[in-house]
């Protein structure tokens, strides 16, 4: 199975909303979203995303199997990992890049399992999370896309990824969606 995994931080929320709105109706793989969010924030994120999507949006549950047709979000205060049998594992270990969930942690874990069968997308953000993990996805043969720093509300995160690994594909929002729709077929 292939998967798409999206990492986002400050300035990513609206981008993700637009992506969900534009996604084709026949995406045949799970999509996982790791978005930095406030620790105490209640689960309204899923509700907001759900209004824009015909897929089922749900928070990742521990040991749940990843299924096509679902959009999964990382719960606040837990890292999301992937097991070889394609079930998720939640983890409360140390923050990485001051973040839990951390995008690096998920990118690395998913890449270990999925190798070339995953597409990592890194969006706007004001820190450096995701750069190391996205490089690993690329080196394992997966597809990697970084939001164009000129378009991103906060360019630090996308730029850090490019800095670390020049060969990521840089796209604006509309091309990210196009790419996802193609990838998922």
């Amino acid at each position: 199975m292939k998967m798409i995994i999206i990492g986002g931080s400050a300035g990513s929320f609206n981008v993700i909303l637009s992506i969900l709105k534009e996604l084709d109706a026949d995406i045949s793989m799970p999509i996982v979203i790791v978005l930095h969010r406030l620790k105490k924030a209640k689960a309204i994120l899923e509700d907001c995303l759900q209004t824009q999507s015909h897929y089922i949006v749900k928070e990742v549950e521990d040991k749940e199997f990843a299924k096509a047709g679902y959009i999964y979000t990382a719960p606040s205060d837990y890292h999301v990992l992937l097991n070889e049998n394609l079930s998720f594992s939640l983890d409360t270990s140390e923050e990485v890049n001051y973040s839990r969930p951390s995008i690096d942690v998920s990118f690395e874990s998913f890449s270990c399992v999925l190798k070339e069968n995953c597409c990592g997308i890194l969006l706007s953000g004001a820190n450096q999370d995701g750069a190391i993990g996205l490089k690993m996805i690329a080196e394992n043969g997966g597809e990697t896309i970084v939001q164009d720093g000129d378009e991103a509300e906060f360019a630090t995160m996308p730029r850090a990824a490019i800095e670390l690994y020049k060969k990521h594909t840089v796209y604006k929002l509309k091309d990210i969606v196009k790419k996802m729709n193609n990838y998922a077929k």
Partner: protein
């Protein structure tokens, strides 16, 4: 870096040489912890790791301490403690003597949090709290009860959100850098080593608290450990799990009543 297909052999070596069984641990987090350990101790390849495990038993304790995740905080998830006070404390108050099992107690943050709330609700003097963990390092730290001051502001906020009545500082002696829990709490808490994978029931307890431990286990091991908790509880005893842990997939599910589905508090009914 080590890959998934090399884990089996590592699990085997650890079991054979040291008697610790990590077979049922969630593979994704186990892999991540091993990679982290290798990085921290400068072991470049799986061969180095195997060599270390086989030939340097004196480092095995350090290995275990890195492999398990000891991250915790005081009054983690205030809504959970609030619910515990509202739904469980009054019930416990009706017992002449209360035994509590705090399993996977890490550095003691959660156990002491409970003890503080017990004290404020006048339950502590008739309670015995058994706090256990697989990690001897964690138990040593728990027994000392010394914590860095850097997170105390958050702990104090958490404490008040739980409905704490006093001020958190009064339960600690602080020197500006670190704080030590008052010794009055230590006499009612017994810290000891217990491995949830291999050890059995040791005491009947009216409340079993095991939060953020089951997520590190696969479904089969979760099931086994939940059965152990079931066996440790009397009828009407309470089980409290972490926010992302549930009885839903377990054999013992229908032997419990849900007290709070959000905060994962259950009561044994048969």
């Amino acid at each position: 870096m080590i890959e998934f297909d090399e884990l089996e052999e590592i699990v085997f070596i650890i079991k054979k040489q040291y008697g610790y069984d990590f077979e049922g641990y969630s593979r994704a987090s186990f892999l991540r912890r091993i990679n982290r350990y290798m990085e921290l101790s400068g072991l470049a390849t799986t061969v180095h790791l195997k060599n270390e495990l086989i030939n340097n038993p004196e480092n095995f304790n350090a290995f275990i301490n890195e492999i398990v995740v000891n991250v915790s905080e005081f009054f983690r998830d205030p809504d959970f403690f609030k619910s515990l006070i509202a739904n469980v404390f009054t019930y416990l108050a009706s017992y002449p003597k209360i035994n509590v099992w705090s399993a996977g107690c890490s550095y003691g943050e959660e156990t002491y949090s409970l003890a503080i709330l017990f004290k404020e609700m006048d339950l502590l003097q008739k309670s015995r709290i058994y706090a256990t963990d697989i990690s001897t390092n964690a138990l040593d730290k728990s027994k000392k009860g010394i914590y860095s001051n850097k997170d105390f502001k958050e702990y104090s906020n958490n404490y008040f959100s739980c409905g704490g009545k006093e001020s958190l500082n009064q339960y600690f002696v602080s020197d500006g850098q670190k704080s030590i829990i008052n010794s009055e709490f230590k006499k009612d808490i017994l810290f000891s080593r217990h491995n949830l994978v291999t050890d059995g029931v040791f005491k009947e307890c009216q409340l079993v608290l095991c939060r953020n431990v089951l997520i590190y286990f696969d479904e089969e091991l979760q099931n086994k450990v939940l059965k152990l908790f079931y066996d440790s509880l009397p009828v009407h005893g309470f089980l409290a799990l972490g926010n992302k842990e549930t009885l839903r997939f377990s054999e013992v599910q229908d032997k419990f009543k849900i007290i709070d589905s959000r905060e994962k508090i259950y009561q044994k009914i048969k």
